[in-house]
Protein backbone atom coordinates (compact mmCIF):
# COMPACT_ATOMS: atom_id res chain seq x y z
CA UNK A 1 0.00 0.00 0.00
CA UNK A 2 1.19 3.49 -0.76
CA UNK A 3 0.63 6.12 1.89
CA UNK A 4 2.52 8.92 0.20
CA UNK A 5 -0.34 11.00 -1.13
CA UNK A 6 -3.96 11.93 -0.81
CA UNK A 7 -5.05 9.15 -3.15
CA UNK A 8 -4.57 5.67 -1.68
CA UNK A 9 -3.43 2.79 -3.86
CA UNK A 10 -3.41 -0.70 -2.40
CA UNK A 11 -1.54 -3.80 -3.50
CA UNK A 12 -4.74 -5.64 -4.35
CA UNK A 13 -6.17 -4.26 -7.54
CA UNK A 14 -9.18 -5.34 -9.52
CA UNK A 15 -8.12 -7.57 -12.37
CA UNK A 16 -11.09 -6.36 -14.45
CA UNK A 17 -9.90 -2.74 -14.37
CA UNK A 18 -8.64 -1.24 -17.63
CA UNK A 19 -4.86 -1.01 -17.21
CA UNK A 20 -3.10 1.91 -18.85
CA UNK A 21 0.68 1.85 -19.28
CA UNK A 22 2.23 5.03 -17.78
CA UNK A 23 3.84 5.95 -21.09
CA UNK A 24 0.36 6.34 -22.67
CA UNK A 25 -0.48 9.07 -20.14
CA UNK A 26 2.76 10.91 -20.91
CA UNK A 27 1.93 10.66 -24.65
CA UNK A 28 -1.64 11.88 -23.93
CA UNK A 29 -0.24 14.88 -22.02
CA UNK A 30 2.13 15.80 -24.85
CA UNK A 31 -0.60 15.30 -27.49
CA UNK A 32 -3.13 17.47 -25.60
CA UNK A 33 -0.50 20.18 -25.13
CA UNK A 34 0.51 20.14 -28.80
CA UNK A 35 -3.11 20.19 -30.06
CA UNK A 36 -4.10 23.11 -27.80
CA UNK A 37 -0.92 25.05 -28.61
CA UNK A 38 -1.57 24.49 -32.34
CA UNK A 39 -5.19 25.68 -31.99
CA UNK A 40 -4.01 28.75 -30.06
CA UNK A 41 -1.45 29.44 -32.80
CA UNK A 42 -3.98 28.98 -35.63
CA UNK A 43 -6.88 30.94 -34.13
CA UNK A 44 -5.26 33.06 -31.43
Amino acid sequence: MSSAGLVRYYESEDKNAIHIPPRSIIVACILSAVIILALNFMFG
Binding site: Y9, E13, I26, F43
Partner: protein, 485 residues
Protein backbone atom coordinates in the same frame (compact mmCIF):
# COMPACT_ATOMS: atom_id res chain seq x y z
CA UNK B 1 -16.15 -8.38 2.91
CA UNK B 2 -18.40 -5.61 4.24
CA UNK B 3 -21.95 -5.43 2.90
CA UNK B 4 -22.97 -2.09 1.46
CA UNK B 5 -26.04 -1.97 -0.82
CA UNK B 6 -25.14 1.21 -2.75
CA UNK B 7 -21.51 0.23 -3.29
CA UNK B 8 -22.58 -3.28 -4.32
CA UNK B 9 -24.82 -1.74 -6.95
CA UNK B 10 -22.12 0.48 -8.48
CA UNK B 11 -19.37 -2.12 -8.14
CA UNK B 12 -19.52 -3.22 -11.83
CA UNK B 13 -18.83 0.42 -12.82
CA UNK B 14 -16.04 0.71 -10.24
CA UNK B 15 -14.39 -2.44 -11.56
CA UNK B 16 -14.10 -0.99 -15.07
CA UNK B 17 -12.49 2.30 -14.08
CA UNK B 18 -9.06 2.71 -15.70
CA UNK B 19 -5.91 2.38 -13.60
CA UNK B 20 -2.22 2.83 -14.32
CA UNK B 21 -0.59 -0.58 -14.64
CA UNK B 22 1.76 -1.49 -11.81
CA UNK B 23 5.41 -2.35 -12.37
CA UNK B 24 5.99 -6.12 -12.59
CA UNK B 25 8.93 -6.25 -10.25
CA UNK B 26 11.30 -3.96 -8.49
CA UNK B 27 11.78 -0.52 -10.08
CA UNK B 28 15.38 0.65 -9.85
CA UNK B 29 15.99 3.87 -7.92
CA UNK B 30 17.32 5.64 -11.02
CA UNK B 31 14.21 4.65 -13.00
CA UNK B 32 11.95 5.89 -10.19
CA UNK B 33 13.82 9.18 -10.21
CA UNK B 34 13.45 9.45 -14.01
CA UNK B 35 9.67 8.92 -13.78
CA UNK B 36 9.36 11.50 -10.99
CA UNK B 37 11.40 14.15 -12.81
CA UNK B 38 9.64 13.30 -16.10
CA UNK B 39 6.18 13.84 -14.53
CA UNK B 40 7.38 17.08 -12.95
CA UNK B 41 8.57 18.38 -16.33
CA UNK B 42 5.30 17.37 -18.01
CA UNK B 43 3.42 19.13 -15.20
CA UNK B 44 5.38 22.35 -15.78
CA UNK B 45 4.66 22.11 -19.53
CA UNK B 46 0.92 21.67 -18.82
CA UNK B 47 0.84 24.70 -16.48
CA UNK B 48 2.09 26.75 -19.44
CA UNK B 49 -0.45 25.50 -22.00
CA UNK B 50 -3.08 28.22 -22.17
CA UNK B 51 -6.65 27.00 -22.58
CA UNK B 52 -7.85 27.42 -26.16
CA UNK B 53 -10.55 30.05 -26.77
CA UNK B 54 -10.29 31.52 -23.25
CA UNK B 55 -10.98 35.22 -22.89
CA UNK B 56 -8.25 37.23 -21.08
CA UNK B 57 -11.05 38.71 -18.93
CA UNK B 58 -11.33 35.39 -17.02
CA UNK B 59 -10.75 35.28 -13.24
CA UNK B 60 -9.17 32.75 -10.90
CA UNK B 61 -11.83 31.18 -8.67
CA UNK B 62 -9.10 29.50 -6.59
CA UNK B 63 -7.38 32.88 -6.00
CA UNK B 64 -5.51 32.79 -2.70
CA UNK B 65 -5.78 28.99 -2.50
CA UNK B 66 -3.87 28.50 -5.74
CA UNK B 67 -0.68 27.32 -3.98
CA UNK B 68 -2.60 24.54 -2.18
CA UNK B 69 -4.66 23.59 -5.21
CA UNK B 70 -1.59 23.61 -7.52
CA UNK B 71 -2.16 23.98 -11.27
CA UNK B 72 -2.23 27.38 -12.93
CA UNK B 73 -4.98 29.89 -13.75
CA UNK B 74 -6.09 29.79 -17.40
CA UNK B 75 -3.96 26.74 -18.19
CA UNK B 76 -4.90 23.19 -19.17
CA UNK B 77 -4.33 22.24 -15.50
CA UNK B 78 -6.72 24.95 -14.27
CA UNK B 79 -8.22 22.59 -11.66
CA UNK B 80 -4.85 21.46 -10.30
CA UNK B 81 -5.27 18.92 -7.51
CA UNK B 82 -8.61 20.51 -6.46
CA UNK B 83 -10.79 17.50 -7.44
CA UNK B 84 -8.39 15.04 -5.74
CA UNK B 85 -8.40 17.09 -2.52
CA UNK B 86 -12.18 17.56 -2.47
CA UNK B 87 -12.85 13.88 -3.18
CA UNK B 88 -10.39 12.99 -0.42
CA UNK B 89 -12.23 15.24 2.08
CA UNK B 90 -15.54 13.55 1.30
CA UNK B 91 -14.09 10.06 1.51
CA UNK B 92 -12.19 10.78 4.76
CA UNK B 93 -15.30 12.24 6.39
CA UNK B 94 -17.56 9.41 5.20
CA UNK B 95 -15.10 6.72 6.24
CA UNK B 96 -14.15 8.51 9.49
CA UNK B 97 -17.82 8.90 10.47
CA UNK B 98 -18.40 5.24 9.50
CA UNK B 99 -20.97 6.12 6.83
CA UNK B 100 -19.02 4.08 4.27
CA UNK B 101 -18.29 0.80 6.02
CA UNK B 102 -15.25 -0.62 4.29
CA UNK B 103 -12.63 -2.79 5.95
CA UNK B 104 -9.40 -1.59 4.34
CA UNK B 105 -7.53 -4.67 5.54
CA UNK B 106 -9.70 -6.84 3.30
CA UNK B 107 -8.32 -7.09 -0.30
CA UNK B 108 -11.75 -6.81 -1.94
CA UNK B 109 -12.72 -3.76 0.12
CA UNK B 110 -9.32 -2.22 -0.65
CA UNK B 111 -10.02 -2.53 -4.36
CA UNK B 112 -13.53 -1.06 -3.90
CA UNK B 113 -12.13 1.80 -1.79
CA UNK B 114 -9.51 2.82 -4.32
CA UNK B 115 -11.91 2.61 -7.25
CA UNK B 116 -14.55 4.54 -5.28
CA UNK B 117 -12.09 7.37 -4.65
CA UNK B 118 -11.28 7.44 -8.38
CA UNK B 119 -14.97 7.64 -9.31
CA UNK B 120 -15.39 10.44 -6.78
CA UNK B 121 -12.43 12.33 -8.31
CA UNK B 122 -13.99 12.02 -11.80
CA UNK B 123 -17.26 13.42 -10.39
CA UNK B 124 -15.37 16.25 -8.65
CA UNK B 125 -13.60 17.18 -11.90
CA UNK B 126 -17.01 17.88 -13.45
CA UNK B 127 -18.39 19.49 -10.25
CA UNK B 128 -15.42 21.90 -10.06
CA UNK B 129 -15.11 22.62 -13.79
CA UNK B 130 -18.80 23.34 -14.47
CA UNK B 131 -19.27 26.30 -12.06
CA UNK B 132 -16.06 27.91 -13.32
CA UNK B 133 -17.44 27.91 -16.88
CA UNK B 134 -21.11 28.52 -16.04
CA UNK B 135 -20.33 31.05 -13.28
CA UNK B 136 -18.40 33.24 -15.70
CA UNK B 137 -14.90 32.69 -14.21
CA UNK B 138 -13.61 31.02 -17.36
CA UNK B 139 -15.01 33.29 -20.06
CA UNK B 140 -15.20 32.29 -23.76
CA UNK B 141 -13.39 34.51 -26.27
CA UNK B 142 -16.22 36.46 -28.04
CA UNK B 143 -14.22 37.18 -31.24
CA UNK B 144 -13.38 33.49 -31.65
CA UNK B 145 -17.02 32.57 -30.96
CA UNK B 146 -18.07 34.85 -33.82
CA UNK B 147 -15.30 33.92 -36.28
CA UNK B 148 -15.66 30.13 -35.84
CA UNK B 149 -19.46 30.23 -35.83
CA UNK B 150 -19.55 28.05 -32.68
CA UNK B 151 -21.20 30.75 -30.60
CA UNK B 152 -20.44 31.52 -26.93
CA UNK B 153 -22.10 28.26 -25.80
CA UNK B 154 -19.99 26.11 -28.12
CA UNK B 155 -16.76 27.81 -27.07
CA UNK B 156 -17.71 27.46 -23.38
CA UNK B 157 -18.23 23.73 -23.96
CA UNK B 158 -14.78 23.53 -25.58
CA UNK B 159 -13.23 25.22 -22.51
CA UNK B 160 -15.12 22.85 -20.20
CA UNK B 161 -13.84 19.80 -22.10
CA UNK B 162 -10.22 21.07 -21.96
CA UNK B 163 -10.45 21.74 -18.19
CA UNK B 164 -11.86 18.22 -17.62
CA UNK B 165 -9.08 16.65 -19.72
CA UNK B 166 -6.52 18.56 -17.62
CA UNK B 167 -8.14 17.27 -14.41
CA UNK B 168 -8.00 13.66 -15.62
CA UNK B 169 -4.36 14.04 -16.71
CA UNK B 170 -3.39 15.35 -13.23
CA UNK B 171 -5.12 12.34 -11.61
CA UNK B 172 -3.18 9.87 -13.74
CA UNK B 173 0.12 11.77 -13.38
CA UNK B 174 -0.33 11.45 -9.60
CA UNK B 175 -0.96 7.72 -9.99
CA UNK B 176 2.20 7.34 -12.12
CA UNK B 177 4.37 9.01 -9.45
CA UNK B 178 2.84 6.87 -6.67
CA UNK B 179 3.26 3.59 -8.55
CA UNK B 180 6.42 4.20 -10.61
CA UNK B 181 8.17 7.14 -8.93
CA UNK B 182 9.04 8.50 -5.50
CA UNK B 183 6.49 10.17 -3.20
CA UNK B 184 3.19 11.30 -4.69
CA UNK B 185 2.18 13.54 -7.57
CA UNK B 186 -0.01 15.64 -5.27
CA UNK B 187 2.98 16.44 -3.03
CA UNK B 188 5.21 17.05 -6.02
CA UNK B 189 2.78 19.52 -7.62
CA UNK B 190 2.36 21.48 -4.38
CA UNK B 191 6.13 21.70 -3.90
CA UNK B 192 6.56 22.74 -7.57
CA UNK B 193 4.05 25.59 -7.19
CA UNK B 194 5.47 26.83 -3.88
CA UNK B 195 9.07 26.62 -5.17
CA UNK B 196 8.07 28.62 -8.25
CA UNK B 197 6.35 31.20 -6.01
CA UNK B 198 9.41 31.50 -3.76
CA UNK B 199 11.79 31.99 -6.71
CA UNK B 200 9.49 34.59 -8.29
CA UNK B 201 9.08 36.32 -4.91
CA UNK B 202 12.86 36.50 -4.60
CA UNK B 203 14.20 37.55 -8.00
CA UNK B 204 11.31 38.85 -10.14
CA UNK B 205 12.13 42.45 -11.06
CA UNK B 206 8.79 43.22 -12.78
CA UNK B 207 6.91 46.06 -11.02
CA UNK B 208 3.93 45.26 -8.78
CA UNK B 209 0.96 47.26 -10.22
CA UNK B 210 -0.27 48.33 -6.74
CA UNK B 211 2.98 49.44 -5.09
CA UNK B 212 5.15 50.17 -8.15
CA UNK B 213 8.00 48.27 -6.46
CA UNK B 214 9.58 45.08 -7.84
CA UNK B 215 7.79 41.81 -7.00
CA UNK B 216 10.97 40.00 -5.89
CA UNK B 217 12.50 41.05 -2.57
CA UNK B 218 16.10 41.26 -3.88
CA UNK B 219 15.38 43.79 -6.68
CA UNK B 220 12.95 45.52 -4.27
CA UNK B 221 15.74 45.96 -1.71
CA UNK B 222 17.97 47.43 -4.42
CA UNK B 223 15.18 49.87 -5.42
CA UNK B 224 14.54 50.86 -1.78
CA UNK B 225 18.21 51.45 -1.00
CA UNK B 226 18.60 53.47 -4.23
CA UNK B 227 15.59 55.65 -3.39
CA UNK B 228 16.03 56.23 0.36
CA UNK B 229 19.03 57.01 2.54
CA UNK B 230 20.04 54.69 5.38
CA UNK B 231 19.01 57.39 7.89
CA UNK B 232 15.52 57.59 6.40
CA UNK B 233 15.17 53.80 6.53
CA UNK B 234 16.32 53.64 10.16
CA UNK B 235 13.55 56.00 11.32
CA UNK B 236 10.37 54.44 12.82
CA UNK B 237 8.42 54.99 9.59
CA UNK B 238 11.31 53.66 7.52
CA UNK B 239 11.56 50.49 9.62
CA UNK B 240 7.81 49.87 9.33
CA UNK B 241 8.11 50.40 5.57
CA UNK B 242 11.00 47.91 5.40
CA UNK B 243 9.13 45.39 7.54
CA UNK B 244 5.97 45.31 5.43
CA UNK B 245 6.66 46.78 1.96
CA UNK B 246 10.28 45.63 1.99
CA UNK B 247 9.14 42.06 2.78
CA UNK B 248 11.48 41.77 5.81
CA UNK B 249 8.63 40.27 7.89
CA UNK B 250 7.86 37.78 5.10
CA UNK B 251 11.54 36.75 4.87
CA UNK B 252 11.77 36.21 8.66
CA UNK B 253 8.49 34.27 8.64
CA UNK B 254 9.62 32.06 5.70
CA UNK B 255 12.98 31.22 7.32
CA UNK B 256 11.23 30.52 10.65
CA UNK B 257 8.76 28.10 9.01
CA UNK B 258 11.62 26.24 7.30
CA UNK B 259 13.46 25.87 10.61
CA UNK B 260 10.43 24.93 12.73
CA UNK B 261 9.09 22.37 10.22
CA UNK B 262 12.45 20.62 9.82
CA UNK B 263 12.85 20.55 13.64
CA UNK B 264 9.32 19.21 14.13
CA UNK B 265 9.84 16.55 11.44
CA UNK B 266 12.70 15.11 13.47
CA UNK B 267 10.84 15.24 16.83
CA UNK B 268 9.56 11.79 17.74
CA UNK B 269 8.93 9.26 20.48
CA UNK B 270 10.71 5.99 19.75
CA UNK B 271 9.25 2.71 20.97
CA UNK B 272 12.00 0.06 21.24
CA UNK B 273 11.45 -3.21 19.37
CA UNK B 274 13.34 -6.47 19.43
CA UNK B 275 13.09 -9.49 17.15
CA UNK B 276 11.49 -12.43 18.90
CA UNK B 277 13.59 -15.16 17.32
CA UNK B 278 16.72 -13.37 16.05
CA UNK B 279 18.81 -12.37 19.04
CA UNK B 280 20.35 -8.92 18.83
CA UNK B 281 18.04 -7.76 16.01
CA UNK B 282 16.65 -4.53 17.38
CA UNK B 283 14.64 -1.68 15.96
CA UNK B 284 12.53 1.28 16.91
CA UNK B 285 9.03 2.31 15.99
CA UNK B 286 9.00 6.10 15.61
CA UNK B 287 5.85 8.02 16.60
CA UNK B 288 6.60 11.39 15.02
CA UNK B 289 5.17 14.56 16.54
CA UNK B 290 3.46 15.17 13.20
CA UNK B 291 2.36 11.54 13.15
CA UNK B 292 -0.48 12.01 10.66
CA UNK B 293 1.83 14.05 8.33
CA UNK B 294 0.88 17.52 7.13
CA UNK B 295 -1.49 16.26 4.44
CA UNK B 296 -4.64 16.54 6.63
CA UNK B 297 -3.93 20.29 6.70
CA UNK B 298 -4.60 20.49 2.95
CA UNK B 299 -8.02 19.07 3.67
CA UNK B 300 -8.83 21.73 6.28
CA UNK B 301 -7.64 24.59 4.06
CA UNK B 302 -9.41 23.10 1.03
CA UNK B 303 -12.63 22.93 3.04
CA UNK B 304 -12.28 26.67 3.76
CA UNK B 305 -11.44 27.25 0.07
CA UNK B 306 -14.54 25.39 -1.08
CA UNK B 307 -16.73 27.46 1.29
CA UNK B 308 -15.19 30.67 -0.12
CA UNK B 309 -15.71 29.48 -3.70
CA UNK B 310 -19.41 28.91 -2.99
CA UNK B 311 -19.47 32.42 -1.47
CA UNK B 312 -17.85 33.99 -4.55
CA UNK B 313 -20.19 32.13 -6.90
CA UNK B 314 -23.25 33.23 -4.88
CA UNK B 315 -22.00 36.83 -4.71
CA UNK B 316 -21.40 36.88 -8.47
CA UNK B 317 -24.92 35.53 -8.98
CA UNK B 318 -26.30 38.48 -7.01
CA UNK B 319 -26.79 36.82 -3.59
CA UNK B 320 -25.12 39.16 -1.10
CA UNK B 321 -26.61 37.67 2.09
CA UNK B 322 -23.65 35.31 2.61
CA UNK B 323 -21.11 38.09 2.18
CA UNK B 324 -19.69 40.65 -0.18
CA UNK B 325 -16.43 40.46 -2.12
CA UNK B 326 -13.91 42.87 -3.64
CA UNK B 327 -11.40 41.38 -6.10
CA UNK B 328 -12.49 37.93 -4.86
CA UNK B 329 -11.52 38.91 -1.26
CA UNK B 330 -14.37 38.80 1.28
CA UNK B 331 -15.14 42.21 2.80
CA UNK B 332 -18.27 41.60 4.90
CA UNK B 333 -20.87 39.08 5.98
CA UNK B 334 -20.52 35.45 7.04
CA UNK B 335 -17.90 34.72 4.35
CA UNK B 336 -15.60 37.43 5.79
CA UNK B 337 -15.49 35.64 9.15
CA UNK B 338 -15.02 32.22 7.59
CA UNK B 339 -12.09 33.32 5.39
CA UNK B 340 -8.57 32.49 6.58
CA UNK B 341 -6.07 35.28 7.31
CA UNK B 342 -3.66 35.83 4.40
CA UNK B 343 -0.84 38.01 5.67
CA UNK B 344 -0.58 41.17 7.82
CA UNK B 345 -2.87 43.15 5.46
CA UNK B 346 -5.82 41.16 6.84
CA UNK B 347 -5.29 41.84 10.56
CA UNK B 348 -2.68 44.48 11.40
CA UNK B 349 -4.25 47.72 12.75
CA UNK B 350 -3.78 50.39 10.10
CA UNK B 351 -3.54 47.89 7.26
CA UNK B 352 -6.79 45.97 7.76
CA UNK B 353 -9.92 47.64 6.37
CA UNK B 354 -12.46 46.22 8.83
CA UNK B 355 -13.04 47.26 12.49
CA UNK B 356 -10.84 45.63 15.13
CA UNK B 357 -13.60 43.44 16.65
CA UNK B 358 -14.38 41.98 13.21
CA UNK B 359 -10.69 41.25 12.62
CA UNK B 360 -10.42 39.64 16.07
CA UNK B 361 -13.48 37.46 15.44
CA UNK B 362 -12.17 36.39 12.02
CA UNK B 363 -8.75 35.56 13.52
CA UNK B 364 -10.38 33.57 16.34
CA UNK B 365 -12.47 31.58 13.89
CA UNK B 366 -9.40 30.92 11.66
CA UNK B 367 -7.35 29.64 14.64
CA UNK B 368 -10.25 27.46 15.91
CA UNK B 369 -10.96 25.97 12.47
CA UNK B 370 -7.31 25.14 11.84
CA UNK B 371 -6.64 23.68 15.30
CA UNK B 372 -9.88 21.69 15.65
CA UNK B 373 -9.94 20.79 11.94
CA UNK B 374 -6.28 19.79 12.11
CA UNK B 375 -7.02 17.39 15.00
CA UNK B 376 -10.17 15.87 13.42
CA UNK B 377 -8.61 15.28 10.01
CA UNK B 378 -5.39 13.95 11.60
CA UNK B 379 -7.42 11.38 13.58
CA UNK B 380 -9.38 10.36 10.47
CA UNK B 381 -6.13 10.22 8.47
CA UNK B 382 -4.47 7.87 10.97
CA UNK B 383 -7.46 5.52 10.88
CA UNK B 384 -7.89 5.45 7.08
CA UNK B 385 -4.19 4.99 6.30
CA UNK B 386 -3.65 2.04 8.64
CA UNK B 387 -1.49 4.00 11.09
CA UNK B 388 -3.79 3.44 14.09
CA UNK B 389 -2.73 1.43 17.20
CA UNK B 390 -4.48 -1.76 16.06
CA UNK B 391 -3.05 -1.73 12.51
CA UNK B 392 0.45 -0.85 13.78
CA UNK B 393 0.43 -3.66 16.39
CA UNK B 394 -0.54 -6.14 13.64
CA UNK B 395 2.31 -4.88 11.43
CA UNK B 396 4.82 -5.20 14.30
CA UNK B 397 3.63 -8.72 15.09
CA UNK B 398 3.78 -9.74 11.40
CA UNK B 399 7.37 -8.52 11.11
CA UNK B 400 8.28 -10.84 14.01
CA UNK B 401 9.13 -7.98 16.36
CA UNK B 402 7.87 -7.29 19.88
CA UNK B 403 8.35 -4.68 22.58
CA UNK B 404 11.03 -5.84 25.05
CA UNK B 405 9.51 -6.53 28.47
CA UNK B 406 6.02 -7.15 27.07
CA UNK B 407 4.32 -10.35 25.87
CA UNK B 408 4.27 -11.03 22.10
CA UNK B 409 0.52 -10.65 21.97
CA UNK B 410 -0.79 -8.06 19.44
CA UNK B 411 -3.36 -6.98 22.04
CA UNK B 412 -0.54 -6.08 24.46
CA UNK B 413 1.39 -4.23 21.73
CA UNK B 414 -1.84 -2.43 20.80
CA UNK B 415 -2.30 -1.33 24.41
CA UNK B 416 1.22 0.16 24.45
CA UNK B 417 0.58 1.91 21.12
CA UNK B 418 -2.76 3.17 22.44
CA UNK B 419 -0.82 5.07 25.09
CA UNK B 420 1.08 7.09 22.50
CA UNK B 421 -0.50 7.20 19.02
CA UNK B 422 -3.88 8.91 19.75
CA UNK B 423 -2.31 11.49 22.07
CA UNK B 424 0.56 12.31 19.69
CA UNK B 425 -1.90 12.52 16.76
CA UNK B 426 -4.08 15.05 18.61
CA UNK B 427 -1.13 17.15 19.84
CA UNK B 428 0.58 16.99 16.41
CA UNK B 429 -2.63 17.89 14.52
CA UNK B 430 -3.34 20.87 16.78
CA UNK B 431 0.30 22.04 16.70
CA UNK B 432 0.64 21.91 12.93
CA UNK B 433 -2.74 23.67 12.52
CA UNK B 434 -1.64 26.46 14.85
CA UNK B 435 1.71 26.74 13.09
CA UNK B 436 -0.05 27.14 9.72
CA UNK B 437 -2.27 29.92 11.10
CA UNK B 438 0.71 31.79 12.60
CA UNK B 439 2.56 31.46 9.28
CA UNK B 440 -0.54 32.79 7.51
CA UNK B 441 -0.66 35.83 9.84
CA UNK B 442 2.88 36.96 9.01
CA UNK B 443 2.89 36.22 5.29
CA UNK B 444 5.62 34.57 3.24
CA UNK B 445 7.99 35.38 0.38
CA UNK B 446 6.10 35.44 -2.93
CA UNK B 447 2.75 35.32 -1.04
CA UNK B 448 2.68 31.53 -1.33
CA UNK B 449 0.69 31.32 1.93
CA UNK B 450 1.71 29.93 5.30
CA UNK B 451 -0.03 26.56 4.96
CA UNK B 452 1.37 25.95 1.47
CA UNK B 453 4.91 26.75 2.60
CA UNK B 454 4.54 24.49 5.62
CA UNK B 455 3.24 21.71 3.37
CA UNK B 456 6.01 22.21 0.82
CA UNK B 457 8.82 22.12 3.41
CA UNK B 458 7.40 19.05 5.11
CA UNK B 459 6.75 17.21 1.81
CA UNK B 460 10.31 18.04 0.63
CA UNK B 461 11.77 16.76 3.92
CA UNK B 462 9.84 13.51 3.61
CA UNK B 463 10.88 13.22 -0.04
CA UNK B 464 14.50 13.60 1.08
CA UNK B 465 14.02 10.81 3.65
CA UNK B 466 12.41 8.60 1.02
CA UNK B 467 15.24 9.29 -1.45
CA UNK B 468 17.79 8.35 1.21
CA UNK B 469 15.87 5.12 1.99
CA UNK B 470 15.62 4.18 -1.68
CA UNK B 471 19.34 4.74 -2.16
CA UNK B 472 20.21 2.61 0.88
CA UNK B 473 17.94 -0.17 -0.41
CA UNK B 474 19.66 -0.08 -3.82
CA UNK B 475 23.03 -0.41 -2.12
CA UNK B 476 21.88 -3.23 0.16
CA UNK B 477 19.43 -5.45 -1.77
CA UNK B 478 19.11 -7.69 1.33
CA UNK B 479 17.21 -4.88 3.06
CA UNK B 480 14.62 -4.98 0.31
CA UNK B 481 13.81 -8.62 0.95
CA UNK B 482 13.73 -7.92 4.67
CA UNK B 483 11.23 -5.09 4.16
CA UNK B 484 9.13 -7.36 1.97
CA UNK B 485 9.48 -5.53 -1.34
Amino acid sequence: MTEHPLIDRIEPVLQRLPAISKPDGHVHFRRKLTWTIGVLLIYFVLTNVRLFALSPASQDLFGFYRAIMAGSQGSLVQLGIGPIVTASIILQLFKGADIIKLDTSDPRDQSVYQQLQKLLIFVMIIVEAAPQVLGGFLKPDPTLAASTGLGLGGISLLIFIQVCIGGVLILFLDEIVTKWGIGSGVGLFIVAGVAQGLVTGTINWAADPTTGLAVGWIPRFVQIFQTFTVQQLLSTQGLIFLLFQGDVLAIISTVAIFAVVVYVETTRIEIPLAHSSVRGARGRFPVKLVYASVLPLILVRALQANIQMVGILLYNAGFTWVGTYQNNQPTSGLMYYLAPINGPNNWLPGLAQNPAWQVALRSGIDISVMVIGGVIFALFWVETTGMGPKAVSEQIKDSGMSIPGFRRDPKIIERVMQRYIPKVTVIGGAFIGLLAVIAGFFGTIGNVGGTSLLLAVSITYQLYEQLANEEVMEMHPMLRTFLGE
